[in-house]
């Protein structure tokens, strides 16, 4: 079936990005259009019917013998496939992006059309990466995503943001080159770009050095896009240099892209034990460094940035196991962690807006000033670090189970350790911000950091906390369907 709404998930944000860019400077138009566009962005993934969209409606054809392509039938069109996984991930992205847009339009005196245009561009890019069944299309939108994310970080306007964006773009150029070279090697060997076709052409036959080089290059690209070791310092620099509401969006996008590319890698090279070992190893290192580095930070935003990177390592572990349980648990954890981490980033956003700093040495004693914020933050901390009854508990528990079942008991121990370190690090942040004896900031008593939170921000935090609790109490509906996706994925390999 050729569902009409599927391309709209990419095309609409792209058009909105252009329009918002043109509207820049007309404050009212930007506000109204930005808000309306987000309604559409949220609604489309919910309304669209599951199916595949073929651009130009070119069907699959019998391959002419002269082309030298070994497959009998190949797909001519660029194909977008849309199923439950895609709907869940795109809806999650749309929800967090809506908060970022509303936070901008309600907190800033002048809404910036250019900034909202970059948010839209990143939504389009992530949606396309999630849906694309075409490996070159995936590459194009990954590059667009890198540029738009760098632009969102720069939007904060201080010099740290420029430095982070520069590093991100330079290494993004290297990683993008690696991905494209990998694609070029696969194209030169098999002559097709469609992922289903490539999977058929490979069909477990991955022993040639050219294919193995291509796998290595694609894995390097995956490491960059998902901020795993050795790119974890770059990602955490990006998160901590952006405004905290942007950081919430950035880390959601990173986790979604992590899942999307890992699934493409599994579909193409699922049985390759080298790849699985490399991916597991680097994910474990990311988890270790991310959570340990979170412990020693002196700034709340940097602490959260490293904790978010460490959690990405956790997601990577389950996906690289390659078992149905591991994949399902990882996708589930990616969604849960994106939600809970966003909640934490929003609380830190409020602290920064009120106190104009997130340095622990200058924070303290805020519990009496903002008890509601403290309560929401403690919910976020418990949700991220897997304390029942919140959502990450359900996914981390399943991840540990999947690691044991796959025959990697030590990975189970590593996951538990990582979770504990994350909890300790976040509790340290909570203690130094809310419970420690009051210091300069609390003494001045800035009026903003009070119980009178901005309505949009407060509503977002409450909704995120409720969703975390809801998924934690009823994981079934979501997890079972991720499990179905994972089973179909591993059967297809």
């Amino acid at each position: 079936m050729n569902s009409e709404l599927i391309p709209l998930m990419v095309v609409f944000p792209l058009i909105s990005a252009i329009l918002l860019n043109l509207m820049h400077g007309k404050d009212r138009a930007v506000r109204v259009y930005g808000t309306l566009a987000m309604v559409v962005v949220i609604a489309v993934p919910l309304l669209a019917v599951y199916g595949n969209h073929l651009f130009g409606a070119h069907p699959a054809i019998d391959t002419p013998a002269e082309t030298g392509i070994a497959l009998g039938r190949i797909n001519l069109a660029i194909e977008y496939s849309f199923g439950f996984l895609q709907r869940a991930l795109i809806f999650l992205l749309a929800a967090i992006a809506t908060f970022a847009v509303l936070s901008h339009t309600s907190n800033e005196k002048r809404a910036s059309g250019v900034y909202l245009s970059m948010v839209m561009l990143s939504i389009a890019a992530v949606s396309a990466v999630v849906m694309a069944n075409d490996i070159f299309n995936m590459f194009v939108f990954l590059e667009i995503l890198t540029i738009s994310q760098a632009a969102m970080v720069v939007a904060k306007g201080d010099i740290g943001g420029y430095k982070a964006a520069l590093k991100y773009l330079i290494f993004g150029g290297v990683a993008g080159g690696a991905i494209l070279l990998g694609i070029a090697l696969l194209l030169g060997t098999f002559g097709v770009l469609n992922i289903t076709d490539l999977g058929n052409a490979l069909s477990g036959n991955t022993k040639s050095p050219i294919v193995l080089t291509a796998v290595g290059l694609l894995v390097i690209g995956w490491l960059f896009e998902s901020g795993l070791f050795p790119f974890h310092t770059i990602k955490s620099h990006i998160y901590s240099s952006a405004k905290a509401d942007v950081a919430a969006l950035l880390q959601t996008e990173t986790k979604i892209v992590l899942v999307a590319i890992a699934i493409i890698l599994l579909r193409l090279f699922g049985g390759l034990s080298n790849m699985s070992a490399v991916m597991v190893g680097l994910s474990v290192i990311t988890l270790a460094f991310g959570s340990v580095m979170a412990l020693v930070q002196t700034d709340f935003r940097r602490l959260l940035a490293f904790a978010a990177v460490g959690q990405a390592g956790l997601v990577g572990i389950g996906l690289s196991l390659g078992t149905p349980d591991g994949i399902a648990a990882s996708i589930f954890h990616a969604v849960n962690d994106a939600l809970a981490m966003s909640l934490l980033f929003v609380t830190v956003f409020v602290i920064y807006e009120g106190a104009k700093t997130t340095e622990f040495s200058r924070l303290g004693g805020l519990l009496t000033k903002a008890p509601r914020l403290a309560f929401l933050q403690i919910i976020g901390i418990m949700a991220v670090s897997g304390v029942p009854p919140f959502n990450a508990y359900q996914s981390e528990y399943r991840l540990i189970g999947a690691a044991f079942q796959a025959g990697y008991p030590e990975l189970g121990v590593v996951i538990i350790l990582g979770t504990i370190v994350t909890f300790v690090a976040l509790m340290k942040g909570f203690f130094l911000t809310f419970l420690k004896e009051s210091t300069a900031v609390a003494a001045i008593g800035r009026p903003q950091l009070s119980n009178a939170l901005p309505l949009v921000t407060f509503a977002t935090m409450v909704i995120l906390a409720l969703v975390c609790l809801g998924i934690g109490l009823h994981p079934g509906p979501l997890y079972d369907r991720f499990a179905d996706v994972a089973i179909t994925l591993t059967m297809g390999v």
Binding site: P64, E66, T67, F136, V140, E143, I144, T146, I147, A150, A151, V154, I159, Y162, K163, A165, L166, L169, I170, G172, G173, V174, G176, G177, L180, L181, I183, A184, L187, G188, G191, L193
Partner: protein
């Protein structure tokens, strides 16, 4: 002879990528690093172009006449592989936009630090 052309083309592409990576890793000047990023992209583009190259091939433009005269089979046999060229075109556009953003950022950094030395710019980030 034509195999030589392709082989040398791949060698040059490899050299471009290696020079680019060297510039990113070892050269201190920000603009040189940015040139390095672009060289990596160009090297990959050259790999793609070389893949599409066909010794003695014809331009891959299909027309009605080919179908009516029944020469489609010969055309498919002789034409160069056109897909990589489309990919290269897209990648050039992406490279140009990345370059624009990178240069914009480096202007900002220069205005702040009055220097393009990466060691100087990132000096305060040593933990």
């Amino acid at each position: 002879m034509n195999v030589d052309v392709q082989l040398w083309s791949f060698v040059v592409a490899g050299l471009l990528v290696i020079i680019g990576l060297y510039a990113i890793a070892f050269m201190d000047n920000l603009v040189k690093k940015i040139i390095g990023v672009m060289l990596v992209g160009d090297g990959v583009n050259l790999v793609l172009i070389t893949e599409g190259f066909k010794p003695g091939g014809i331009v891959p433009i299909i027309s009605e006449k080919l179908f009516s005269s029944g020469a489609v089979g010969d055309f498919a046999n002789d034409a160069a592989y056109s897909l990589p060229f489309a990919l290269v075109l897209t990648n050039i556009v992406i490279g140009a936009s990345t370059l624009a953003v990178l240069l914009g950022i480096s202007i900002k950094l220069y205005q702040h630090y009055r220097s393009l030395s990466v060691a100087h710019i990132f000096q305060e980030d040593d933990a």
